[in-house]
């Protein structure tokens, strides 16, 4: 902070007001800093108010629920203190589903970043109909989750789906894609299908990479791969960091396993293949199937804290690696 802290005193002296004797300038002006402070709160107020009402209140409600046995209907619920929390930590299902979620996050996030980055490099080449390729590759990313679920169920049906149709063409045995142990791969593919999202964002980054840098590297005799690794990736690193963080959040909170279940609605949580029984599905199961609002709320709160920690760790461990082209905080 430099400019902001300059003492902008009310310059009401005759010299200062020469030619600019507007009413605003004449009243005893509050400092520039104070004005900016007030403006800041004015600008962020919509979010702050909305956050308090539509997020903090429900969160607090959920926190309160997490200390009870409330099931929404029954009259005789009671307080259990930290009972739900101690139960969830001793429940192997919690740990198993958390493990699956971790595995899903550390596979789906890097894979979709690699896929998105790869696509971006491909469609950044000077090819004909480049715009068309970009558009077509991106389109799946805007298909709403509901549509993705229906599409993938049709695609991966064991007996009538296209995926097994292709497999059997090659004389191989069809797979039970939507059941264990393959359901996790269908889930992964449903995420990768939206890699166009990362492609578009990376593409914009790629185009920002100064051409001179590439040319300089080429003159130095660097291989394409080295150029990519040493110049392109560092320049893209803020994009990749952002994608990693939002990707982790999205993969932890995904409801895609539900949409891939035969039922396809929240009731589908009762019949999930184990490999897609992620932490969030555990929450859904406790909430919608078992009616344990208190326990499910405790699970959600634990999840929230965990995501916070993981995100914090990601930021911490990447702070030295990520290269910022523009740092808005470092203004002079």
């Amino acid at each position: 902070m430099t400019v902001d802290q300059l003492p902008v005193t009310g310059r009401t002296g005759p010299a200062a007001s020469a030619g600019r004797a507007t009413p605003a300038a004449q009243r005893p002006r509050i400092s520039m800093t104070a004005r900016r402070h007030r403006a800041f709160y004015l600008f962020t107020a919509p979010w702050i108010i909305g956050f308090l009402l539509l997020t903090i209140v429900p969160m607090a409600y959920a926190l309160w629920l997490s200390f009870t046995t409330y099931d929404g209907i029954s009259p005789h619920w009671r307080y259990v203190g930290l009972g739900n929390y101690t139960e969830l930590f001793s429940d192997p299902t919690t740990w198993n589903s958390l493990g699956r979620t971790g595995l899903f996050a550390i596979t789906s996030v890097p894979l979709s970043i690699i896929a998105g980055l790869g696509l971006a490099v491909l469609v950044n080449r000077p090819v004909k109909a480049r715009g068309l390729f970009r558009t077509l590759l991106y389109l799946p990313a805007v298909v709403p989750p509901v549509g993705v679920g229906l599409t993938f169920k049709a695609l991966f049906d064991q007996n009538s789906g296209a995926a097994n149709g292709v497999i059997t063409l090659f004389g191989l045995d069809a797979l039970g894609w939507l059941a264990d142990p393959y359901a996790r791969y269908v889930l992964l593919m449903s995420v990768l299908w939206a890699a166009g999202n990362i492609m578009i964002i990376s593409l914009a980054g790629l185009q920002d990479v100064p051409r001179e840098l590439h040319e300089a590297a080429r003159i130095d005799g660097a291989s394409a791969w080295r150029t990519f690794r040493s110049i392109t990736v560092p320049l893209l690193s803020p994009v990749l960091l952002f994608q990693t963080v939002t990707g982790v959040i999205a993969s932890v909170q995904t409801i895609m396993p539900l949409l891939l279940s035969p039922d396809g609605t929240t009731a589908g949580v009762t019949a999930l293949p184990q490999s897609n029984y992620l932490y969030m599905m555990h929450v859904f199961s406790q909430y919608f199937a078992l009616g344990r609002y208190g326990y499910a709320s405790a699970l959600l709160w634990v999840l929230f804290v965990l995501i916070l920690i993981v995100t914090g760790l990601i930021f911490k461990f990447t702070s030295g690696v990520v290269f910022y082209n523009v740092d808005p905080e470092a203004k002079k």
């Binding site: 605003a24 300038a25 520039m32 900016r36 402070h37 800041f40 709160y41 004015l42 600008f43 919509p46 979010w47 108010i49 909305g50 956050f51 009402l53 997020t55 969160m59 696509l119 491909l122 469609v123 090819v127 077509l136 590759l137 991106y138 389109l139 799946p140 805007v142 298909v143 709403p144 509901v146 549509g147 229906l150 599409t151 993938f152 049709a154 007996n159 009538s160 789906g161 296209a162 097994n164 299908w193 578009i200 964002i201 593409l203 914009a204 980054g205 920002d208 803020p238 952002f242 969030m280 929450v283 609002y293 959600l300 709160w301 999840l303 929230f304 995100t311 523009v326 740092d327 808005p328």
Partner: protein
């Protein structure tokens, strides 16, 4: 020029041509892979239920059931639900884009004690599992008498969305400092600076934000299901639940046909807003 009289640099050129061939092949194959699932959905919508359940798979319908699309359209009040979806998505997308730009400007160009903390909370709130708020949200809007109205989307819109705030904040932070300084000297308030100077500059992020918010709203079926009665509900809810027999069991081919018709508007919006969208998304790469 014959093969025998190739100039000395012919080998690289052949290699370049071979490279291009590989490149195009890879591109076409990948594009096919990405568009394929959607094509399968379209084909599913063109089959009879029995053909949809045929094994081994019937790649193409023996008789294209084009009337599935008409049936899917007529069986429910498709246009009515689409209109509801459109109204809700427009209300939400317009409001949330403006409010997020407003809030994003605050985080990008203004200073105040607690800003860092607030920004941390903003980012942190992206991580909140939305489901946590389902039941209390219903109760809040019920107490306000706003169940079965579109008011909740107005409020959600006005309250800004963390992800979009972040997008705008990145964009505004990257604009040169001189932009508002001149205006401040001229005695402009920050509101005016935002409205007159910054907003007109930010059309790429505006369109990106609009597309993203529109897609969220168009795709969401949990909030409308929770807050709206059947007639006022959205296409996403209808497509998920309405294509059923008298016994409540799903009619898959009509559901597929309806899904295609449900997705197409989103694709169109994206195609229209494409250029701005791409430019706008690039700002997430700042910090």
């Amino acid at each position: 020029m014959t093969a025998t009289s190739l100039p000395p640099n012919s080998a690289p050129r052949v290699r370049v041509r071979a490279n291009r061939l590989v490149l195009y092949t890879v591109l076409v194959a990948l594009t096919g892979l990405f568009i394929g699932p959607f094509g399968w959905l379209v084909l599913s919508g063109l089959k009879t239920p029995a053909e949809l359940a045929a094994s081994p798979v019937h790649w193409l319908p023996t008789d294209f059931q084009w009337q599935n699309f008409a049936d899917a359209f007529n069986l429910i009040d498709f246009l009515g639900y689409a209109r509801n979806s459109l109204i809700i998505a427009l209300i939400y997308a317009v409001l949330v884009t403006l409010s997020s730009a407003w809030v994003g400007f605050g985080f990008a160009r203004l200073e105040a004690p607690g800003k860092k903390t607030l920004f941390g909370i903003l980012i942190g709130s992206m991580m909140l599992p939305q489901m946590i708020t389902l039941l209390p949200t219903y109760l809040i809007f019920a107490k306000l008498g706003m169940v079965d109205t579109y008011w909740p989307w107005v409020f959600w819109g006005l309250a800004a969305a963390p992800y979009l705030v972040f997008l705008f904040r990145q964009f505004f932070a990257g604009l040169p400092r001189e932009l508002e300084e001149a205006a401040i000297v001229d005695g402009c308030g920050y509101g005016m600076i935002f409205w007159r100077i910054f907003l007109p500059q930010s059309w790429p992020v505006l369109s990106a934000s609009f597309v993203i918010a529109f897609t969220w709203s168009w795709g969401d079926y949990i909030a409308p299901q929770l807050l709206l009665s059947t007639d006022k509900s959205t296409l996403a809810v209808a497509v998920m639940t309405t294509y059923v027999t008298s016994a409540g069991t799903p009619v898959a081919n009509l559901q597929a046909a309806a899904s295609v018709m449900y997705v197409v508007p989103i694709l169109l919006i994206f195609l229209i807003a494409q250029r701005g969208f791409v430019a706008g998304m690039s700002t997430t790469g700042l910090k």
